[in-house]
């Protein structure tokens, strides 16, 4: 995990360096002329007085201490601004994950036990349709449909969870649904395939032959094993939800991290963009690690140290 994070920081740092014109030039664009001494001082402040590798190491050093630099527009430190927006994006992501599991797993189980040619095709098309819906379009249609229903669309009147949990969840329901539908389709397909595979196994036949109830066989015996690949898929797709949150926050005018990122991009505020990309990528790496850990926890056959080369 650490080497990957290290690589991520290198990519982010050097990609930002590719931007034509330096941060200082952009800052100076709105300022009056500076004397040579003032320029030297500014160069030092903006960290442009040293070779690039040295700058990278210094930047990384500050990063580790929680100093993500300062916004070019507001002059405020970047990290506190990101962290202030972070809970909303996280809540959206988790809510979307929850909805995706809630919609995807039962539908997948249902599709696997009620197998018939027509139903299979319909299920498959529903699944593929879920994958094919652009999240932002779905979100726009939701805004259109619910524009007159009070409480469902925040539109600037966002209420924090800590202030009014019910109202907050109501406001985040539609955005989370818009983000989660694609993942729900993926989960549905995986659950179905995984269940079908497990249901063919000998121990299921044994369980049925013992005279166990169908419900017990499906939920206690089959699902327990079939759910494992589904957990992995859900975990690895959480990053995709984080990405989706960026667009959806914009459509629903929710003040999350994604919206901050977009405005930073529109205003060419690179320290902020850099900070958000780093935070999301780090989170993504962390989620993948947690997924691996959960996997090992759920399935006693898997030990993490055995998997290492």
């Amino acid at each position: 995990m650490i080497p990957v994070l290290f690589g991520v920081s290198i990519v982010v740092f050097f990609l930002v360096r590719l931007i034509p014109g330096s941060a200082l030039e952009m800052y100076m664009g709105t300022q009056v002329e500076a004397t040579p001494q003032q320029m030297e001082e500014l160069k030092r402040i903006f960290g442009e007085d040293k070779p690039v590798p040295v700058l990278y190491v210094e930047w990384l050093g500050r990063l580790v201490r929680g100093d993500f630099g300062y916004s070019l527009r507001t002059g405020r430190p970047v990290l506190p601004d990101i962290l202030a927006r972070f809970p909303l994006s996280l809540e959206l992501t988790l809510f979307a994950l929850f909805l995706a599991l809630l919609l995807g797993i039962p539908q997948g189980i249902f599709a696997s036990i009620k197998k018939n040619p027509v139903g299979d095709v319909i299920n498959r098309i529903i699944g593929l349709l879920g994958l094919s819906l652009p999240q932002f379009w779905l979100a726009s249609l939701m805004v259109l449909a619910f524009a007159n229903s009070r409480g469902w669309i925040a539109m600037g009147n966002y209420v924090k969870f800590t202030v009014d949990p019910l109202k907050n969840l109501q406001m985040l329901f539609l955005p989370s649904l818009a983000i989660g539908v694609g993942l729900a389709a993926v989960i549905m397909r995986y659950t179905r395939n995984s269940m079908l595979e497990v249901l063919q196994m000998d121990y299921i036949r044994t369980a049925k032959a013992k005279g166990l109830k169908r419900r017990v066989v499906i939920f206690r015996h089959a699902l327990k094993n079939a759910i494992l690949p589904v957990i992995t898929v859900a975990g690895f797709n959480t990053g995709y939800l984080l990405g989706g949150a960026i667009v959806i926050e914009e459509v629903f005018a929710l003040p999350g991290m994604g919206r901050l990122a977009l405005y930073a991009i529109y205003q060419r505020d690179y320290p902020v963009i850099q900070g958000i990309v780093l935070v999301i990528a780090a989170l993504f790496v962390l989620v993948n690690l947690v997924t691996d850990l959960i996997y090992a926890l759920v399935d006693p056959r898997i030990r993490l140290d055995e998997g290492r080369k």
Partner: protein, 278 residues
């Protein structure tokens, strides 16, 4: 043999027909469009769909015909998606097959680079790259293509690993074949199946990514029509003119569905073992 199985697979055929329909629209749009997709027409702002006026899908907030813009946007979206997928597929596959074939330290480092690219959510990476390169159409191709490099690298590496210890590879080597000859003449044709499936599914995601970028104002820039920026423009007026938001969205969903059906069906036809992937 394979074509026969293709025609008998309803899912793949449906996908193919949908994709062919869009290709036909592109060809038609080169020669004929109902109206000029770019010129504004202040006489006909936000007209509802109607056969009488000829604006079958209505007009947008600048009086432009929505059907014409969807048709024109089709080539924009599809061409970007095709080039982006090609870019990712060529670079990713190249990286992956060399990593898998050479093994050892090369494999380790090439795959670490892929891991790093993989640790950015795809839309975030595309947005980030666009913000750095600036909003030009070519840059959209690059921003989406870069997302695909690690995916193709992983798939092709995995496929190479499973076949490189086969007899025919050793036979080729003992005949004095060079590494690149073995790789491109013997190994690459053998891993085409998973790659073709991945190309089809990647095209579907590319259409979604392109429209998302354009929707956010980071992709294709107006007045050039793209389905994403049409929907972006529609946001301001969709409450009074819902058709501005509905038809371009359908255009996206149908094309993406087409690629998904095609990819899913191809997977069944070409390689039943892969049915559980994704």
């Amino acid at each position: 043999m394979a074509t026969n199985r293709l025609t008998r697979n309803g899912i793949a055929m449906t996908g193919l027909v949908i994709v062919a329909f869009y290709l036909a629209i592109i060809v038609v749009s080169l020669f004929w469009l109902p109206f000029d997709p770019v010129t504004m027409d202040t006489q006909h702002l936000l007209e509802a769909p109607s056969l009488a006026t000829g604006h079958v899908f209505g007009t947008d907030e600048f009086g432009r015909d929505i059907l014409s813009r969807i048709m024109k946007g089709c080539s924009v979206s599809l061409i970007i998606s095709i080039f982006a997928t090609a870019l990712g597929a060529v670079f990713g596959t190249f990286m992956g097959i060399w990593a898998g074939y050479l093994g050892g330290r090369w494999d380790h480092w090439i795959m670490r680079v892929a891991d790093v690219l993989f640790s950015f959510p795809s839309l975030l990476l595309a947005i980030f790259v666009m913000s750095i390169l600036g909003e030009k159409t070519f840059n959209v191709v690059f921003a989406i293509g870069i997302v695909y490099i690690p995916q193709f690298a992983r798939i092709s590496r995995g496929a190479i690993l499973t076949i490189k210890s086969n007899e025919f590879v050793r036979a080729a080597r003992s005949n004095g074949a060079s590494s690149s000859f073995i790789l491109f003449r013997h190994l690459l044709p053998n891993i085409l199946v998973p790659l073709i499936v991945q190309v089809s599914l990647s095209l579907s995601v590319a259409v979604l990514l392109e429209s998302s970028l354009s929707f956010l104002g980071l992709g294709v820039q107006p007045p050039a029509p793209s389905w994403g920026n049409m929907l972006s423009g529609a946001r301001k007026v969709m409450v009074i003119a819902p058709w501005t938001a509905i038809y371009p969205g359908f255009a996206i969903v149908l094309l993406v569905l087409g690629f998904n059906l095609l990819g899913d069906g191809l997977r069944d036809i070409l390689d039943p073992r892969l049915r559980n992937v994704r």
